[in-house]
């Protein structure tokens, strides 16, 4: 909503700088979004006098004028207008100025004559639509004075953000009331009543409201014999300042009164309105019928639906109620009599009409937020008076006023104790009363200052409860004056719960392991699961968005994999080869019959490329060439597994294992399930090259995704201490040659089991294939460490048991001892 300070100052005194005013409005709930200074755009346009006028030697319709603009030299200006004489005063745009339409005035040669500026029409100066010729100024216009200054065109326009609860502020008068209240001053309401003449309107117009719940009031006036023409300058200037294009005097007045009083008005050409069986013009307010159409004033032919409210005559629609009139009843040059509408249409239906047609007008914007039904009459009278004055109209006596439900007076109780208890203040009754009265509310004080009865005017539909009044008191009295305190609640305990603490710990471990946190979108491409060859469980469904931004974001993610793989691709395409990411995020799935989907949090990690760019520390290998040697090893399955190991160890989860698994999006043989206490908690592996191709990512990419809830459930917060060993351990190495199919884990478990009480640990330190090892076999080398709590073990004491254990394991696994 725009307001012109020049216009505002005709209603109230504003004795402060723009900055002070802006602050005051900001701090009382009317945010000032921008401050526009009008008049600046006409810099360089001055009042000039035509001192000579000669035909252009080389063009029939052009004149070469000599113009005095108050400077030392006279200007030669070539001019195409025909409506002036020598001696006329006109606005002159000098070289270097820019007109409101964006035209830059330059020195120019027109058919061989150099022109040093431009004599302007009203339209060229943004002052209306008249471009028929130069704007001829009165003879007393002072030559050389800036045109904006001469015409008093300078103005400051404030663009205000009006919150949805304050429809009353969508008018000049409403804002004057608000400003008077917050500035502590008074304001005047412009009003008018027309002289009435001729036959009363009642004989010429019939109005029926068929849907009274959607139209609480419909008023009309009849103005005969209007002369359509341009509006007076002052009126054009005011509506232009508020962003409205001038059209003609009738339409401009309807817009002017809408801006002034907040009541949208519409003028019909009376002659074009259909009549009832008795020959009386007939307006019907009703829902649109299916299949009806209307060409609106903007020339668009629009389909209507029964959710829309329309103004109709017996022949069909003539306007979209509260949104825009129809072309069929538009006021034109030929119009003689007009019917002026001021009505109150329902907020929701106006919003529906406007939004479903994508047609937002100044009127619809106001009706959508609520227009005071009590304002119709004042707006009718004000507009009729202006039309009588500026369009030469004859206002028919009376008005049609159809108001199915009388508007009730309302009053609210306000307790002073409640105000202070809610705000944390100690306001005396006087302060509260002052604020309420300043806002135009009627106040009666009861109970020795402790409560008020407050009359609510119809223009404040937002005030329906005591709290609404408390807000008004706070807002106008001043939020900045409320002392800052902290709540003193007694029974409050803050902090993270155990799940939240584990979650933070998991994130911290991911970072300690070298992964960087990222965030990806929750909505993904429905084709992503296919790209992964991911199969949903029986009955499991993806969560589908009904109105996605695009087909690529049409379902909620079931796994973080697609988002992270896209991040890899994003990095690789930008030359970043080494990618180490994790995300703690939510995944979704649903099934038939469910309203809300299942939401689960997972932690996913991803590694691509190498751990780091080459450094001078990296070992060199002579046989692989300098480049390969300098780049270090590529990340693989075990880098991912290492992170999972660190994570599970940090969570205190000891009973877990890795199970080779068939995971469709992972490379066979490099894919595993992570099993905690017999339950799968997630997957780990190298992403299948075929999948990487789908996501335009380069191998190797290692990923894992684990269920957060399962991890947290298995996590052990308190691990009792165990004694640090006091006696040295004794260690034996053993290399076992086993079939390829025998897993390291199974050998390790067998050794652990067979090793006896003194066996402290079994550590795999080498896996070897090649010379000396038969095809299809591998050598696994373990270090077995034995320790007793109470003595230093000797070789002699341990060796026999160790040898027995090795023989037993070798026999059970078909392993051979490698010598």
């Amino acid at each position: 909503m725009r307001i012109s300070l020049k216009w505002m100052k005709t209603l109230l005194d504003i004795d402060m700088s723009i900055d002070e005013l802006k602050d005051r409005l900001d701090l009382t709930g009317t945010a000032v979004e921008t401050v526009i200074t009008i008049g600046e755009a006409l810099d360089g346009v001055v009042v000039g006098q035509i001192v000579a006028k000669e035909s252009h030697p080389d063009a029939d319709k052009l004149w070469v004028t000599t113009v005095d603009v108050g400077s030392d030299a006279l200007l030669t200006i070539v001019c195409g207008a025909q409506n002036f004489e020598t001696g006329d005063k006109v606005p002159v745009a000098t070289v270097g100025s820019t007109l409101p339409n964006g035209m830059e005035i330059k020195k120019a040669k027109l058919r061989g004559v150099v022109s040093m500026g431009m004599n302007c029409s009203a339209a060229e100066l943004g002052m209306g639509s008249d471009q028929s010729g130069l704007l001829i100024l009165p003879p007393d216009a002072p030559v050389g004075v800036p045109f904006a200054e001469y015409k008093d065109l300078t103005d400051t326009v404030l663009e205000l953000e009006i919150t949805p609860n304050r429809p009353d502020c969508l008018s000049v008068v409403g804002m004057a009331r608000e400003m008077a209240a917050v500035l502590g001053t008074t304001f005047e309401i412009p009003s008018g009543f027309p002289d009435e003449t001729g036959e009363p309107i009642a004989d010429s117009l019939r109005v029926d409201i068929l849907d009274p719940e959607l139209c609480s009031r419909y008023t009309a006036r009849l103005i005969r014999n209007v002369k359509i023409g341009p509006s007076p300058d002052w009126l054009v200037e005011r509506i232009v300042a508020l962003g409205q294009r001038p059209v003609n005097n009738v339409v401009d007045i309807t817009n002017y009164v809408m801006f002034e009083l907040g009541q949208p008005l519409h003028a019909f050409d009376a002659a074009t309105l259909g009549r009832d069986s008795e020959g009386v013009s007939h307006i019907i307010v009703r829902r649109a019928g299916a299949g009806e159409r209307l060409t609106t004033l903007d020339g668009q032919d629009r389909p209507l639906d029964p959710g829309m409210l329309i103004i109709a005559d017996p022949n069909g629609p003539v306007g979209l109620a509260g949104v825009m009139g129809g072309e069929n009843t538009e006021v034109s040059e030929e119009t003689v009599d007009i019917i002026l509408e001021a009505a109150s249409f329902d907020q929701v239906v106006t919003s529906h009409t406007s939004r479903s047609l994508a047609l937002i007008s100044e009127a619809s914007m106001r009706f959508e937020r609520g227009v005071d039904p009590m304002g119709c009459i004042a707006a009718q009278n004000r507009a009729a008076q202006l039309m009588a004055e500026y369009c030469g109209g004859l206002v028919a006596p009376g008005l049609v006023d159809v108001c199915p439900e009388p508007i009730q007076d309302r009053s609210l109780e306000l307790r002073r104790s409640r105000v202070n208890r809610m705000l944390g203040t100690q306001l005396p009754a006087q302060d509260i009363e002052t604020v309420l009265r300043a806002l135009g509310l009627g106040v009666e004080v009861h109970d020795g200052d402790d409560s008020f009865s407050v009359d609510i005017p119809s223009f404040r539909p937002d005030l329906t409860r005591e709290i609404d009044l408390i807000e008004e008191v706070l807002r106008v009295w001043g939020m900045d004056r409320v002392p800052s305190t902290l709540p003193g609640g007694r029974e409050r305990i803050g902090g993270l719960d155990s799940g939240q603490r584990w979650r933070e710990r998991i994130a911290a471990t991911m970072r300690a392991a070298g992964l960087n946190e990222t965030i990806t979108y929750a909505f993904v491409d429905p084709g992503d699961l296919g790209r992964l060859s991911w199969e949903l469980d029986d009955g499991e469904l993806l969560v589908e968005l009904l109105n996605p931004m695009s087909e690529e974001q049409a379902v909620l993610r079931r796994t973080l994999a697609p988002g992270l793989l896209r991040a890899v691709s994003y990095n690789q395409r930008r030359g970043v080869e080494n990618v180490h990411l994790y995300e703690l995020g939510r995944v979704f799935s649903t099934s038939e019959g469910r309203k809300l989907p299942r939401e689960r949090d997972v932690v996913a990690g991803l590694l691509a490329g190498r751990w780091h760019a080459p450094t001078w520390h990296d070992p060199r290998s002579k046989d692989k060439g300098v480049d390969a040697a300098l780049r270090g090893p590529q990340l693989n399955f075990f880098d991912g597994k290492g992170i999972v190991e660190i994570l599970l160890e940090d969570l205190g989860i000891s009973r877990w294992s890795t199970r080779s698994a068939d995971v469709p999006w992972l490379q066979p043989g490099r894919a595993a399930e992570i099993v905690v206490r017999g339950q799968s908690v997630g997957w780990l592996g190298e992403v299948h090259p075929r999948v990487l191709e789908q996501f335009e990512a380069q191998a190797p990419v290692v990923m894992f995704e684990l269920q957060l809830a399962a991890l947290i459930k298995a996590a052990v917060a308190i691990r009792p201490s165990t004694d640090v060993p006091r006696f040295p351990a004794i260690s034996f190495d053993v290399a076992l040659v086993v079939d390829e199919a025998v897993t390291a884990e199974s050998v390790e478990q067998s050794l652990s089991k067979a090793g006896g009480k003194l066996l402290e640990s079994v550590r795999l330190f080498d896996v070897y294939r090649g010379a000396g090892i038969p095809e299809g076999k591998k050598s696994l080398a373990f270090a077995l460490s034995y320790r007793a709590e109470d003595r230093t073990l000797t070789d002699e004491e341990v060796r026999p048991a160790h040898d027995r254990a090795i023989r037993k394991v070798s026999a059970s696994l078909g392993a051979e001892l490698r010598s």
């Binding site: 900045d480 409320v482 800052s484 803050g494 392991a513 960087n516 929750a522 970043v576 180490h580 990411l581």
Partner: protein, 353 residues
């Protein structure tokens, strides 16, 4: 030559040789030559038995003296040589200390998670608990119980993501749905008040979704932190004090806050909170669009209608709520030129914070 003279000559010779030994090995040769099993001094000691009873104690005593003297000299020389060797080794081990070090590089926290955590820490200090809610919500929690009128524009399918409702019934066939991606963290307020009795002091961080096209200043998915307090005697002053404290903790103790009345459906009175611009200190600059202030969050006293939905006695209890956009704070605090960088996963961006 008497044995004593022999011993004295040997001592002189040996001490000279010890002093001349240039490294550990030659020192050892000297030791063996005199004190070894076949060494000169050892030979004399062995020959003691053949000496006369008169000579034996004198030669024996002198031999021991010589032996002790030589051992001491050997030890001293050995220490000297070790010292020299260590010096040489140390000097040979010198490195170019400007060469880069070697370390496992830890990962970084995402900027948004970092700021969220900072916000959480401030409010934990003020005695708040952290709560969460579903990201797929019902219209009831997201709008209705937050006092949004049925025709509120935020409900429009142009603004809010709707999710297919798979519960049996009309909704299934018409494709109409009251299931949506939450547009703010405020529904968590309602869920907490439904399930808990006051006093309530909670903070709800989380992801929210709106149908905005991703551009430098908008993302269709972003992060909010919601706060809710319900207790006896909670005032607007308490809201101001709480957020004053928060802004100072978050942005710096020299920053000022300003409360501007505003409108939200679920709070009344409502306000927007500005913090003074950190670039110009409030004088006005390009960063704050010459206002001196940066808008940080929205807040207000819990609307009585909201309490009505969750059966909280408005005469006994009052409360306040506030909400802030973490991406906005990130953009302001870290000067992020394009919010899309936050969801692209570019390592070069992620490793900056």
């Amino acid at each position: 030559m008497s044995t004593i003279d022999e011993l004295n000559d040997m001592r002189t010779k040996a001490l000279t040789e010890i002093a001349a030994a240039g490294d550990g090995a030659s020192l050892e040769t000297v030791r063996v030559a005199y004190l070894g099993k076949k060494g000169e001094l050892t030979a004399i000691l062995r020959g003691l038995g053949s000496l006369s009873a008169q000579e034996r104690p004198i030669v024996g005593k002198t031999s021991n003296e010589v032996r002790q003297e030589l051992e001491a000299a050997l030890d001293g020389r050995r220490r000297d040589l070790e010292h020299v060797e260590l010096e040489a080794k140390v000097s040979a081990d010198a490195v170019d200390v400007t060469l880069p070090g070697r370390g496992r590089v830890p990962g970084r926290e995402h900027l948004i998670e970092m700021i969220t955590r900072q916000v959480v820490e401030v409010f934990i200090g003020l005695g708040y608990r952290i709560v969460e809610g579903p990201q797929v919500e019902l219209d009831y929690y997201n709008f209705t119980a937050l006092n949004h009128p049925p025709a509120h524009p935020a409900r429009a399918a142009t603004d809010t993501f709707y999710v297919r409702d798979l519960e049996a019934g009309d909704a299934r066939t018409t494709g109409e749905s009251d299931v949506l991606l939450r547009t703010h963290t405020s529904p968590v307020q309602v869920r907490v008040m439904e399930n808990e009795e006051p006093p309530i002091y909670v903070l709800a961080p989380g992801k929210v979704f709106r149908r905005d096209i991703a551009d430098p200043s908008h993302l269709p998915q972003f992060t909010q932190v919601e706060g809710l307090v319900v207790d006896e005697g909670i005032t607007f002053g308490d809201l101001k004090g709480t957020l004053d404290y928060f802004c100072k903790e978050m942005f710096g103790h020299d920053r000022k806050t300003r409360f501007r009345p505003h409108f939200f459906p679920f709070t009344e009175p409502s306000a927007e909170v500005d913090v003074s611009c950190g670039i110009c200190g409030g004088d006005g600059c390009r960063f704050c669009k010459y206002t001196g202030w940066l808008e940080i969050l929205g807040c207000g006293m819990v609307d009585p209608n909201v309490f009505g939905y969750v059966d909280i006695d408005t005469e006994r209890f009052s409360g306040f709520a506030f909400g802030m956009g973490v991406e906005r704070i990130a953009a302001l605090k870290y000067n992020i030129p394009d919010l899309r960088m936050l969801v692209e996963g570019d390592m070069r961006f992620l490793r900056q914070f």
